[in-house]
């Protein structure tokens, strides 16, 4: 399925879309990210995960919604809070978008279009169908490994399993319940999409790596911790 067919996204439709941004210590980047989003999408909700830098002040200067966790819980928890809020506000379509500027706001149209045309309930951004600008070789290898493990353990065949840019319908968001608060949520979301039996599609998107986002982002060895927690989660219940 091509992502760019289907209905054109007019202003009325844009109001039905909610962009969920989980932010933790992103004061240096969140401003640009929000400026890029708010120009086209009126409903942006930022969940501040108890940042210790002026992230909150940056958000307050812009016409975005702001929710604040009073203790740091993790990106997975912040996303779930944002999804809950958007659903309460009556969102018809929801998009998750990273706060560090690695995604392009222009890619959201391609994520929303298939949802609006009803061809699926989840759209998943793929940097390997699209572009991964400036991706370091080790990061690429790690992501490919994650794709392989996802294929083996959850049976989901994707070209990019750890992309923060996702779209979903209201029904799709209702089928998700992120309980893994930290970085394991990416795997959990895929598992829940799989077990919901709702349809999903991958959409090519661009992910840009900057020295800044790499320094802020997860170090590669964090993947081991994630794998260990996913294993513990399986054996402890």
């Amino acid at each position: 399925m091509r992502a760019d067919d289907g209905p054109r996204i007019g202003p009325d439709l844009r109001r039905e879309v909610w962009i969920v941004v989980a932010a933790y210590n992103e004061a240096g980047r969140i401003g640009d990210v929000l400026d890029g989003l708010l120009g086209r999408w009126p409903n942006v909700v930022v969940v501040d995960d108890a940042s210790t830098d002026p992230t909150v002040e940056e958000v307050r200067r812009r016409p975005a919604w702001l929710l604040r966790h009073f203790v740091n819980l993790g990106q997975g928890a912040a996303l779930q809070t944002g999804l809950d809020f958007a659903l309460r506000r009556g969102a018809a379509y929801l998009v998750t978008f990273d706060a560090d500027g690695q995604h392009r706001p222009e890619d959201i149209d391609a994520l929303v279009t298939p949802l609006v045309s009803g061809s699926c309930d989840f759209t998943l951004g793929s940097r390997f169908l699209g572009e991964a600008v400036g991706i370091p070789a080790t990061r690429k290898a790690l992501l490919k490994l994650a794709i392989f493990f996802t294929r083996v353990f959850s049976g989901v065949r994707l070209t990019d399993t750890h992309n923060g840019l996702r779209g979903m319908t209201r029904r799709g968001a209702g089928a998700l319940r992120i309980t893994l608060n930290r970085m394991e949520h990416a795997s959990q979301i895929l598992e829940q999409i799989h077990s919901s039996r709702l349809r999903y599609a991958e959409v090519p998107v661009a992910v840009t790596y900057s020295a800044d986002s790499l320094a802020k982002g997860q170090p590669s060895h964090a993947a081991l911790k994630v794998a260990a927690r996913l294993f513990l989660e399986k054996v402890s219940r």
């Binding site: 039905e16 409903n43 975005a64 702001l66 604040r68 009073f70 928890a77």
Partner: protein, 140 residues
């Protein structure tokens, strides 16, 4: 008696007595105190008569009594670790839900200073609009 017995036996028997006294005084629950003093006495017996644990081990096909006890300990340790992990996950779920509900009950709407929007009150941090109030979307 070996050196180890000289120092383990008084320790274990003392612990058994303390547990018993505490449970009789009502400082700890009676059943728990009695259970603990029994456990300490069992440990004392195992130290005083290692051959008994060896006979027990042999019943399970394990040569030495010490090995038998180490294996039991490993199994118990694994079980305790997992149940502690499960408990901390339950606590984490509760904390998450508390923090989430608090965040959801106080949404803020930001905006440029010249046009803060009808319902925005970014400075006070008080709830700008009840989250369930409007199912649609107010314009900025």
């Amino acid at each position: 008696m070996t050196l180890f017995q000289w120092f383990a036996l008084p320790l274990f028997i003392g612990s058994a007595v303390v547990s018993l006294v505490l449970s009789l005084r009502g400082t700890v629950r009676r059943r728990a105190g009695i259970l603990w003093s029994l456990l300490w006495l069992l440990a004392a017996v195992a130290v005083f008569r290692p051959d008994l644990t060896t006979r027990l081990g042999n019943l399970f096909g394990i040569g030495r009594g010490v090995d038998f006890i180490i294996y039991l300990n490993l199994i118990a340790g694994f079980y305790v670790t997992l149940s502690l992990y499960a408990r901390s996950r339950r606590l984490e779920t509760i904390v998450t839900e508390l923090v989430r509900q608090q965040a959801l009950s106080r949404p803020e709407r930001g905006g440029p200073p010249e046009n803060p929007g009808p319902e925005a009150d970014p400075k006070s941090g008080r709830p700008a609009v009840a989250p369930e109030a409007v199912p649609g979307t107010p314009r900025p």
